[in-house]
Amino acid sequence: MSARDRILSRIRKAEAPAAEHLAAPVPGIASLEGAARIERFCAQVEAASATLSRLDSFEALPAALADELRQRNLPAAIRMGADPDFAHLDFGGLQVSHGPGRIEEPATLSRATFGMAETGSLVLLSGPDNPVTLTFLGETHFAVLQESDVKAGFEDVFAGLRAAGHDPRTVNFVTGPSRSADIGQTLQLGAHGPVALHVFLVAGGVE
C-alpha cells in the first residue's frame, strides 16, 4: 500500500461526525451596489495605504501616468505586459518596455481584472498580458481598473472568474503596498514587494 492509500484509509476509518455543507453569511460590506460600492472601494484602497486617482477613459492613462511618475520623482519609464488595453495607447515620451519583472524595476504597470469593494483589493491574473512578477518587483506598482469591474465581494469576484473561464497560474488579490512589522513590531511599508501602490480607476465600462 502506498502512503497515499494508507493516509486515505486512516481518514475513511476514522468516522468523523457527519456535517452539512452550509451556505455562509455574506457581510453587509460585501453586498454594496452602484455608487456606494465604488465609494467603498476607493475608501478601502486608501485605508490599505494605497493611492487612487480617477480617469475618464483609457486614453487619459499615459498623461496621468507620466504625471504620477514625475510627482514621485521616478524616471520616465514603465514596465508592462502585453495587455490589449495598453497596446493601442500612445505613451508619448515615456520609455515603455514589455515583459516580466527584472531585479530592479522602479515602476511597473498592470491591468487588474477586478476590484473588490469589500476590502479595496485588486484582482490580477497572471499571464503574458500581465506577468505576475510585475506585481511584486515594481518599487512603485501602478494598476489600472475599470469601474464596471469593481465587484462587491468575494462571491461576485469568484463568479466573475468562473463566468469568464479564466484559468491563470495565479489569481492575485492585492490590498495595498507590501509591508512588514517584523522589526520592532512597527509597521513599515515596502518589505519585499512595492513600496507604493497606485490605482487608476477608469470611468464606465460594460456591466
Binding site: 468523523a16 461526525p17 452550509l22 531585479i103 511584486f136 495565479t170 513590531q185
Partner: protein, 476 residues
Amino acid sequence: MSLDNPTTPQFKANARQALANENLQSALRGARNGFVNGRAAARAKLGPDEFDALRDAGRDLKNHVLANLGDYLEAYEAKVTASGGHVHWAETAEDARAIVLDICEQAGAKTVNKGKTMISEECGINDHLAAHGIKPVETDLGEYIIQLRGEHPSHIIAPAVHVTVPEVRDAFMEAHPHLDAERDLSGLDTLLAEARGELRAKYFEAEVGITGANMLIAETGQSIIVTNEGNGDLSQSLPKVHIVMASIEKIVPTMEDAGTVLRILARSATGQDMSVYTTLSAGPRRAEDPDGPEEYHVVLLDNGRSNMLGTEFQDMLRCIRCGACINHCPVYQTVGGHAYGWVYPGPMGSVLTPSLIGVEEGGQLPNASTFCGRCEDVCPMRIPLPKMMRHWREREFEKKLTPGATRWGLGVWAWFARRPALYRLGTRMGMAALRVMGRGRGKLASVPLAGGWTGSRDMPAPQGDTFMAQYKRAQR
C-alpha cells in the same frame, strides 16, 4: 531547541528562564497590545454579530470538510494533476523531508528560497536540506532574522516577535560583512531597506521556492498563500520549481468557502480586513506565460493528523493558524513562544503538540494554562481549546506521567472533596488563617507553599465569609 529534541518536557524550567530574560520580556511587552487591539478594532468594523456569524460559518465549514476529508483530498489531487502539478503524500515528517530533498536534487538546486511555512518547521526541512549541501534561505523578514540568529520561530505569524531592534541590528552587522561597517543602521527603515536589498538578489538565485499553504481548494486544485510582505510570491514566481507544503486538513471545498475563511483569518491574526497579498496558485506556468515556475509540486503531510479524526481532538484540525489564541494568552504573553519547546506555541500548540509528538513529550504544555478561556473566546474557528487541554491532562494523569507531588496533592484534595463536612471545615480554617496573615493590608506578599504564585504578584486576602456560608445565608 531542535525539532527532533523538543524541550517541551522542560516547560517549567524554560518558563523560569523566560521570565528572567529582560530582553525577551521587553519584546513581549512591546507586542502585546497591538495584536489584541487590532483584532478588536477589525471585528468592530463589521456589522453587529457579523463577525461571530462568520466564525460559526467557519466552524461548520471545517466540520463538513473533516467529515468528508478523504473525498475532498482525492478531488483536490485530481485537479492539481489536471493542471499539470504533482501531489506527493507524506505520512511522516521524515517522508516529507525525503520528498522535498528529492525534488530539490532533481532540480539541481543549490539554493532554495522559503516563504513562511510552519509545516516546513514541523518537518525540519531547513536542517535536512543544509545537511545535503542545499542552502535554504528564509525570505519572510521575521524568518530571515531568526535564521541569521540560528533560532526557530517563537510565534506562528510573527516568528521574530521575541527579537528586539538592537538584536536585529547586531544580526545584520554580523551577517552582512560585505557592507560598510560604518553604515547607519539606526532607523527601522534602514534595517528594512538592508534586508530588502540583500534578499532581492537571492530571489533571482534560487532554483526552487518552497511556500506553505493557508488553504487548498478542492474545486480548483489551487493552493492559497496569505502574506503581507510579498516574499512568498517572489519565492514561488521566480525559481523554476515551486513546492507547496501543506497539511491534509487545509482543504476547503470551493473558492467561496476560501472567501469565508479569508474574512476571519486576517481580522483574527493582524487586525487587517485583508492581508496585502492573497494568492491562489494552480499548476506550473501556462505555455504562453513569460514568468512563473515550470514545475509545481504539493507535499500533503499527515504526520499524526488522520489519527485525530473521530477523537476528542478532532476539532483542533479546524485551526487556520491565525495566532489569535496565542496573542490573547496570558501565559504566552508572559513566557513567549520558545518556552513551549517545539514548533507550535500558546494554546493551539498546547493542544496540537501532544497530538503530533505524543503526550509523553508534549504533556507538559496543556498544564501551562490558567483555563481563563480567552483562547476559545477569540478563536475564529471556535475550537474548544481549554476543553481539549483538560482531555490531555486526563490522559497524562492516566498514563501516570504527572509528577509525584502533583499526583499526591490531587489525591489529598480528592480525599477531602469526597468528605464535604471536613472540606468545609478545612476551607473555613484556611480562610481564617489567611485573613489573619493579611490583616490591615488586604493582600499577602507571601503564602506558605505558594511561593511560585506570590513570586510575581500579591495574593488578595479573603474578604467576608466562605462561599458556602454566604450561599446558605442567601438561601434563607
